[in-house]
Amino acid sequence: MITQQMTTRQAAMWFILFQLGSAFLLLPRVLAGTAKQDAWLSVLIAIGAFFLLVPLYTAIAKQLEETSFSDYILELFGRIGGKLLLCGFIVGYPYLLYIIVLRDLSDFLTTSFITETPAEPILVLMMSAVIYIVRSGAAVIGRTVEILFFLVMLLFAFGYVSLIPSAEVTNLMPVLEHGWNPVLLAAFTMLIFPYSEMMLFLFLVPNIRQARRWKKAVVKSALVSGSMFLLMTLLTISVLSDGVVSNIMYPSYFAVRTISIGDFYERFEVLVAVLWYITIFYRLSLFLHVSVQGLAVVLGLQDPRPLLIPLSLIALVMANIIWPNTAGYTAALQVWPFYSMFFGIFLPILIWMVGIFKRAKNSISKEN
């Protein structure tokens, strides 16, 4: 299969929507649960810490040169070892995330939006769109993202700029009431979810062609999504206060519900739901894209597309049993960063070091 090309601009837009994804609704609660009113400080620290990870990812992207990430793993760890590692990675990270994000989608829609509809039809409708776009390839995703990106930004501006009149700065005071520790813990959570998931973008390096352009897309997208998170956290906490934010499941959705200017300008939460639906779509399509590409290499297939339907079917069934209820979800969310850390931080470090070692060994054998 020929790798389809994307421009840097399309890639950056895709990455931004990917990061906004589930974090857009869940992050304020997760952050405010630990860092209270200082959650906005954790956002700043997390973005700062992410820029320390960018050189690591870029170094791997440079090592890749023309090969794809999955082929590179096979090259580094041998055929059998590489396939085992790649299979474990795909099932344990992008595919598991695909299942979790599907559950996120049905949880949100069935609890706060379309409460009468069962989860399966919602998921099947979403999945058919995701399967279709992943079948069409990265170039098509890039072109659709250029249209929908501006819609998302417009909806975001509508929803959150309207919150500014009801924001109260006193809700953000006192700064650092409980010291730095809770702030750092919350920043760590945010660095792992959603930022270290950026390591999956390494699978897209061949589509963007050059490591330099790839880095540009990653840095741009982290800056834009980071400032959106900052604005959103600041506004949600200053409107609702940290006590409320840490107790509601979807605070950024709830905050927009409180907008009411002159009994006329109100009920903007539907816009937020639409915004979230679009971002989740791009999140799911990246996870599915990476999962099929990786598994096709593991199974030695030329065409990854026949895997789309069976993998989505398994994900649909698993999405309903991944956790029993919202309480199970909250418990899982506390443990998740520690699990995700292995794939987002430790695995790239391992690949980078093995890559350097291999290259040094190759250059020595060439000299002899």
Partner: protein, 76 residues
């Protein structure tokens, strides 16, 4: 609600296999059929209300100690 969805996926997959068979992509068909069979089995088990263990519970038992440790360390 799950039963018609399983049928829907099966039909979609069968349609795809027909075009793959013309292209003689047998490796693709076999791996896809195995995964599809796994998915259908999971779906049928769920229709019969058999308890399927969640992968998340394994992760939780493995990583809960680290999470508790770090939380306690940072709060003291």
């Amino acid at each position: 609600m799950l039963a018609p969805i399983l049928v829907l996926f099966l039909v979609a997959a069968l349609l795809e296999y027909r075009s793959l068979k013309i292209q003689k992509r047998y490796r693709e068909i076999i791996s896809s059929v195995i995964l599809l069979a796994a998915g259908l089995t999971l779906g049928i088990l769920r229709l019969l209300h058999v308890e399927i263990p969640s992968p998340m519970s394994g992760i939780k038992t493995l990583f809960q100690p680290i999470s508790h440790l770090l939380t306690r360390l940072l709060y003291i």
